[in-house]
């Protein structure tokens, strides 16, 4: 084995003896997408399904609508369409 290969092999060997389950080994992984988000199919009728039945279909006018949410915390993006 050449030196590079030996160095890599020992680095891997060292990795495997790091105590398992330590926060360092686990990394600071984010918990993102839990079981509470699992179900999307159902068989109900959306409550607002007949909103606007007697009128023209209520469609939000995208070019008038402005993002209003956590994007206000993101600096460097403009909040109004340019």
């Amino acid at each position: 084995m050449n030196n590079t290969r030996i160095a890599i092999a020992s680095a891997l060997a060292a990795a495997l003896v790091l105590p398992a389950g330590t926060s360092q080994a686990q990394g600071n992984m984010e918990k993102c997408y839990g079981i509470a988000k699992a179900g999307k199919n159902d068989c109900q009728t959306a409550k607002s399904s007949c909103a606007g039945t007697s009128k023209k279909d209520a469609q939000p006018d995208a070019w008038v609508s402005v993002p209003k949410g956590a994007c206000e915390k993101i600096i460097g993006g403009k909040l109004t369409p340019s």
């Binding site: 360092q24 993102c32 988000k37 399904s49 039945t53 006018d61 070019w63 993002p67 600096i75 460097g76």
Partner: protein, 260 residues
């Protein structure tokens, strides 16, 4: 009296927003007009698909708010309906839609957040079994490991962005601190993974990205490590490898692969 095929075709066109006089004529109207009755279904299809997209893309939803998200999602549902009934599998084209959606042009990072949401959704629905665990490597000689291939586990994927998408993601969480995130904080790369009970991500350095992508591209561990070192001499192979193995980022070793 329309046949069933013509009726379903007309109904589908109605749901897509067309006015179909033939369909209206086929429906009984009374105190509530036939067209109004039909619109219940048109609205339900739109609202429920928008709701499904909001659930699949929670970060995008949190960033732009309900009204804007509905408008953006509606533009998508009018263009692209699900091709099969599992709603968790609907929305693959949504990140590209967000990128092209004019009203969202002021939020240049938004499409990358949609890619992150989609990757988390895919990881969540990937099989949990078939992952390499630290104990699987206990009896493997390090020089053998050097020459092995370690592709990523099912559902694992790298998302790279010129924006700090991990910080932006964190800022959208319920209860997140009101501290702003600056886009000037620069690029980020995340390894998205299925875990036992959920899906999550690890932030990767550029050298780690190079290491992981090389491994996933069928390079041997040695080649991947050399590539990472050449990018950054301070690349800490031990720490990175330990972190990736602990996160069960790699697919289980092939039982019959030569050399094992």
């Amino acid at each position: 009296m329309p046949g069933l095929r013509d009726l379903q075709t007309a109904f589908a066109a109605h749901l897509g927003g067309e006015d179909r006089a033939d369909l209206v004529d086929a429906v009984i109207g009374d105190g509530i007009a036939a067209a109004s009755r039909l619109r219940v279904h048109r609205h339900h299809v739109r609202r429920s698909l928008e709701g499904a997209l909001a659930s699949t893309f929670p970060t995008v939803h949190a960033l732009v708010g309900e009204d804007f998200f509905r408008g953006m999602a509606q533009a998508f549902t009018l263009r692209e309906l699900p091709r099969q009934p599992v709603l968790a599998e609907y929305g693959e084209g949504f990140p590209a839609h967000v990128a092209d959606y004019g009203p969202a042009a002021s939020l240049p990072y938004l499409a990358d957040m949609a890619r992150l949401d989609w990757a988390l959704n895919l990881a969540f629905h990937a099989p949990g079994a078939g992952r390499l665990r630290a104990e699987d490597l206990a009896g493997v000689a390090p020089d053998r490991l050097v020459g092995s291939r370690l592709p990523l586990a099912a559902g694992a994927t790298v998302i790279q962005s010129p924006y700090p998408i991990d910080r932006i993601w964190r800022a959208t969480r319920p209860g997140a601190l009101p501290e702003p995130v600056s886009l000037e904080e620069g690029p980020s790369a995340l390894l998205v993974l299925r875990r036992a009970d959920d899906a999550g991500f690890l932030a990767l350095s550029p050298a780690e990205v190079s290491f992981v992508l090389a491994l996933d591209g069928e390079a041997r561990v040695e080649e991947a490590a050399v590539a990472a070192f050449s990018l950054d001499q301070r690349f800490d192979l031990s720490a990175t490898f330990a972190r990736l193995v602990a996160a069960e980022a790699f697919a289980a070793l092939q039982q019959k692969s030569p050399g094992w």
